[in-house]
Symmetry: C2
Subunit: 300 residues, 2 copies
């Protein structure tokens, strides 16, 4: 396994790589003489941890997948993720003013343009897959990926999670209900990232996919528990978003349900579940191991 410095530099490398690819694939500013393209670029390029692209790269490279195909997937998943952030931040949703250390999209561009930018980013996510993977992967694999993407993002995935989230404000959820919500809202796309990266490779088989499915589920949950903990103990400056926002909205969180210490233990358990899931895989997958540790230890 690489040391911590090596891991950080691998993360940085992937982030720079996806940022460059995103800049190329986003529509140029001013095509329509409206703020639309600018709002789309702002929502996508204002930093971010790029956890989903990193998962795609790390999984795909462990399986010797095509670098070009991984770039396309990394962009698509960030378009999709960026759209959900823009819409989740809207006044009628979480009403957040700050994201990644800068004003949220609707604060900067107004609500209507922010809704539209999100809509156009979702369309771009799907269109990028359908147009830019052709020739790099078999057509049947691309269709399988678009279906997986749709499952993770729509009424069986993120949209459902957000609907449950909205309804859960002020409610006392059980741990099972909270997990079910986050499995849809955050987990589905994180899990899809590992699977998409793997599906890029002709080397993938059902055993590897099963391991990655379990790994993705576990680090999705670990990521969310860590997020909830950071909402309590984090620093707004470092987080880039308002610390205490969940508490202010009276949202159910892991620390609220089980207390801070038990929530920390729970995050560690999920990390260990992720590590166990890929224990049978070779050292090509070490970056995924380091990622499982990173998502729990991160400070932003």
């Amino acid at each position: 396994m690489n040391n911590a410095v090596g891991f950080e530099s691998a993360l940085d490398g992937y982030r720079q790589r996806v940022d460059a690819a995103l800049k190329e694939r986003l529509p140029p500013q001013g095509n329509t003489n409206t703020p639309l393209e600018s709002a789309m670029r702002y929502a996508t390029l204002s930093g971010g941890k790029r956890v989903r692209p990193v998962l795609i790269y790390a999984t795909g490279e462990a399986l010797n997948a095509s670098a070009d195909a991984l770039d396309v997937l990394a962009c698509s998943i960030e378009f999709m993720h960026a759209y959900t952030l823009v819409h989740d931040d809207l006044p009628s949703m979480d009403d957040d003013d700050l994201r990644r250390g800068v004003p949220t999209c609707h604060i900067k561009y107004g609500e209507a343009q922010a809704i539209l930018a999100g809509d156009a980013l979702q369309a771009l996510a799907f269109t990028t897959l359908a147009s830019s993977l052709r020739g790099l992967l078999p057509d049947s694999t691309i269709l399988q990926m678009i279906e997986l993407f749709g499952q993770a993002s729509g009424v069986n995935g993120m949209a459902a999670g957000q609907a449950i989230d909205l309804q859960s404000v002020g409610q006392a959820l059980t741990l099972e209900e909270l997990e079910a919500m986050h499995r849809l809202k955050t987990g589905a796309l994180i899990k899809a990232s590992t699977l998409l990266g793997a599906l890029c490779s002709p080397e993938v088989d059902d055993t590897i996919l099963a391991s990655l499915r379990e790994y993705g589920d576990a680090i999705g949950m670990a990521f969310q528990v860590a997020d909830d903990i950071l909402d309590v103990v984090g620093d707004t400056q470092v987080l880039g978003k308002q610390q205490g926002a969940d508490i202010a909205l009276n949202k159910p969180t892991f620390p609220a349900i089980m207390g801070l210490e038990r929530a920390r233990d729970y995050a560690s358990q999920q990390r260990d579940r992720a590590l166990d899931a890929i224990a049978p895989l070779d050292n090509q997958f070490d970056l995924l191991r380091q990622l499982a540790i990173y998502v729990v230890n991160r400070t932003c």
Copy 2:
């Protein structure tokens, strides 16, 4: 060419057919114990002229396309259309309270659920294509369709049109600018409908596609000019939406730019352009001819 009664009954038949297919393909109510699925069904199943599905059926059947594939496409295009209506009606967009004779989605379900329902409908539109056409059409054709769909709906299509529309409130547009806006906002998906229907058939060739492209462009424009005229002379009860809404919002329209009579002439010119475009095609395409007349003469 069939008589008027035959045409009306063909329209009704297609509407019933797409409604039945939509009911089957929409998520069942209550899956998430939130109003999400209910809002999606409400937005999609509250009537509507179903012009886009009718175009898909009429074009596809003229070319002996698979009936099952046409049903899938008709549903996808209505999911996409329904999502744009829900988002366009939002308070920060056109702020409409009435649609198809019933309260708009955000009036009935609240703004947050309406945004989410639109988001989930867009995802469903793409996912339905990727999952339900497999086996019915070649994978490469399905990918081509998803790309066409994305082009028509995203930053190069409807989303751009809506962005220009938002920016044009109170502006004096030229005829060319107004046309360019509607070519994106309404025209792109109407044109895509005729192309998608045709692409379902192995009988289609480049000559037919070129005719249909021109036809789709012309009836898209005819449809929009007629829409603008109905905003002036229509009846709220028959329209199912507020008559005079464009005027109230100070939106540029064809009657506002050129006066009512010249706008009527212009709609007729576009209808004739549509008819000319498909003049070389055989009488299998007669329903498209009747549709071109219908979109201009309609009262709602």
